[in-house]
Symmetry: C2
Subunit: 248 residues, 2 copies
DNA sequence: GCAGTAACTTAACGTTGTTAACTAAACATC
DNA sequence: GATGTTTAGTTAACAACGTTAAGTTACTGC
């Protein structure tokens, strides 16, 4: 009975080849810039071979998208998280923005493209709500922790609403950067500055009492690697101002 | 010499017909959903006739985009603007979100689609930076006023950076709503709530001193701090009561 | 040995954006 | 008034697209 398994393995191997080729093309060319024919050519198959594995282009890229969500989770939930609830939220925000900058085309596809309503698959059902695999759930969990710790004003109780607001804030920074950073009619400040400003302003706006600062602006203090855990990896890979990858 | 003028008028009439048809289709179908052939069919011309007036599809929609920016300005800079700098910023934010909700497809095209770099035209040059016609300039102007009035913390001095942050915050709310509001794996709060929360949080995060709230909804008191002599009334260019309402 | 399964190919359909070549009418010039 | 030029608009065509229908071919279970 090892035969069936080998066949399945072979099939999923070419399936993976398709996904790999599609991902590579998609990252550099964007959704509309990728054609089924190009994907097929890259793996030296005929264009229609793809349709054995995926119903259509949309499903192929939805599959990529699904994988990207896992990758987002990896980037957002890096091992070391500050214990301070606020700093933890800041870290999550930073990581999120870093993801968007590293994979701008994926980000466009995941969060900036209005998709036809896509029903949840069974696998997806398992993922939703688990902070270990669902980045939004992680954010919500961190928000709930901050609420419970009494960091926020007492009117701020709806963790869902707060999470959506924080998400929207970092999403605003990054998506605007992706879509408009080339536009000459705005004197764009460096992305890093905009990101830190946004995190500073939103978190500050949620706080119960204003942070007791001597004279050092919170912004500068937060940007420093003095944050708990000391993240050297992020230090050597600063967020680039422009689209980093070989974007076309 | 009236001949030449008549010809030009005729030409610009069919040009406008193309733009009108394209806009109508674009608003309902989105950028990729509109084909040059459909536009041509709608105005009962041959597809290639469009190419007499526009270099390609991109330029046609860039022209639409240009018009949309004027419309954005109309919506954002509605006649009555609060005199209080903070409330004015809040109003601008609300109006911006309203624009996005009324014209989601335009919004997608204007702010959510990475465009090939588009050099500024001569007409554009005139527009940029004028608060009367450029919504971003209006925002920046309002931010500068708030800074001058002493509403913000003293570290907050870069009007450009603040403007970009505020813009990103409302853009985050609306663009996330457009792209993801259908997604079932988030328990979305009502858009209005998310918008108000975002404006509340970001403006609050910028303020010098937290609004002294008895129990009244927070930011009503936001005007209080700082300048006792109120805002510099010699502020040039207070929001014009009569706006460029070139209805179409 | 034979029927069945299934991964993959070839050929084709209808659509897309865009170009080349052409028509026809209005104009300027002699 | 014939002539040549300009130009808005047309027809035909190209290459590329997503996708389907109808094969082909190799392996498997019986």
């Amino acid at each position: 009975m090892g035969v069936k398994e080998r066949r399945e393995r072979e099939k999923s191997e070419t399936r993976d080849k398709i996904l790999d080729a599609a991902r590579e093309l998609f990252v550099t060319e964007g959704y509309e810039g990728v054609s089924m024919r190009k994907v097929a050519e890259k793996i030296e198959y005929s264009p229609t071979a793809i349709y054995v594995h995926f119903a259509d282009k949309n499903e192929l890229f939805h599959e990529l998208c699904r994988e990207d969500f896992a990758r987002l989770q990896e980037v957002v939930a890096v091992a070391e998280m500050p214990t301070d609830p606020i700093e933890r939220l800041r870290q999550i925000g930073r990581n999120y923005i870093q993801f968007g900058m590293r994979f701008p085309n994926h980000y466009v596809f995941m969060f900036m493209t209005p998709h036809p309503p896509h029903e949840l698959h069974v696998e997806d059902q398992e993922i939703v709500g688990d902070p270990e695999v669902d980045a939004y759930a992680l954010l919500k969990w961190a928000v709930e922790a901050a609420i419970k710790a009494g960091c926020f004003r007492e009117e701020v109780q709806d963790a869902e609403l707060v999470s959506q607001t924080l998400w929207a804030s970092v999403h605003g920074v990054i998506s605007l950067n992706i879509a408009k950073c080339k536009d000459p009619w705005v004197e764009w400040r460096p992305l890093q500055d905009r990101a830190e400003m946004m995190l500073d302003v939103t978190l500050r706006g949620l706080l119960k009492s204003p942070p007791i600062e001597e004279k050092a602006p919170l912004l500068a203090a937060a940007a420093r690697p003095g944050a708990p855990g000391a993240r050297p990896s992020e230090e050597e890979a600063p967020i680039p101002a422009d689209l980093p990858t070989e974007e076309k």
